[in-house]
Symmetry: C2
DNA sequence: GACAGATTCGAACCATGGTTCGAAAGTCGA
DNA sequence: TCGACTTTCGAACCATGGTTCGAATCTGTC
């Protein structure tokens, strides 16, 4: 039940944005009453929090799984980009994860930001390792990582499900372009 | 006076986001009363509209100025990226321009989206021309352009004025990386 | 059928914040 | 100084929307 609510909420968040969507909308999307939402969640921010936590958690999992395998930095980065985009575009909750951090009250925000920073560090490690080993051209790993993540996170602004492009097509094109920029 | 209000409002919008900032905050930042804002602007959305219009207009100007000069696609793109970033990070109103489009009511939003689309088309033309002439590696110009603009627009999420990096440093690093990805 | 607990909801509450109103204060030429 | 106009603001208004409350309904067990 909580899962169903989260999925429904994530969908509305993606279309309308967090601040613009009301509890009554979330309730309608989840097919129950607004008051009933409070039986499962403490408040509106709590719903957003679990959306983001689930999504960032999933992204973090892919990086740790990738870290265990013996892969070239370029391939690793490609996989991360693809996974990130599928999570943002295919599943619903991915969208709100990175776009609405400021909406949370300090205690919750702190936790999400920390988790998201862990993810960003994991991605940066791939970039930095590649630069160190010569697989990637040298540069500022932090700025490069942020450029990459920015391109990825921004997709939710223009991507519309059911459009001319499948998430995988976007993922491939982005991976091509963004990894090529690191070619030595 | 309107200009001063717009600058102050843009600053608050950048830090707090549009939905989270109240009229009373804008008023405090502009050093006048909340009620007095309505002497200069019709309502809150109107303030955001003029912020965005000014900023997108400035970005559009740089592309048209660049189009008149005889430059290689790579240089053109570098200049656009640099100008875009300076506009986003150095000046205040640039931030809200691309991040808060959904907040406007339909009639205003329609106009801003149209103007921003003109800008996106101008950037895409540079990319597409380069791909056609062989200056850039072939690919999907639309997706590539969106990846670039996404990386640029996302900077407002993490960039903090007065931090370790000057806007120009970010602009250079981003231009290096994003243009290199198009190298044939 | 009856009881306890879980689940659901309509209706009302209430804080927030955008907005309006009427009047006060400033500006300026005559 | 006078009047007309511009600019300013405190206070109140009011719609929106998150939240709470108490009761009704459902679920399963004895």
């Amino acid at each position: 039940m909580r899962g169903a609510i989260l999925r429904a909420a994530a969908g509305v968040f993606r279309e309308r944005g967090f601040a613009e969507t009301g509890m009554r909308e979330i309730a309608a999307a989840a097919d129950l009453s607004a008051a009933n939402l409070y039986y499962y969640f403490k408040n509106k921010a709590d719903i957003l929090y679990f959306c983001q936590d689930h999504s960032v958690g999933r992204m973090l999992e892919t990086t740790t799984a990738l870290a265990r395998r013996r892969l070239t930095p370029a391939v690793r980065l490609r996989r991360v980009i693809a996974a990130h985009l599928v999570c943002m575009l295919d599943e619903l909750d991915g969208a709100a994860a990175h776009t609405e951090i400021d909406a949370l009250p300090p205690p919750l925000r702190k936790r999400i930001v920390a988790k998201r920073d862990r993810y960003e560090r994991a991605v940066r490690r791939i970039v930095a390792d590649g630069m160190r080993s010569g697989a990637f051209r040298k540069g500022d790993p932090t700025l490069t990582t942020r450029a990459i993540l920015g391109a990825l996170n921004w997709t939710t602004r223009w991507y519309r499900p059911g459009g001319r492009l499948a998430p995988r097509a976007v993922a491939d094109a982005f991976a091509d372009y963004l990894v090529r920029g690191l070619h030595p």
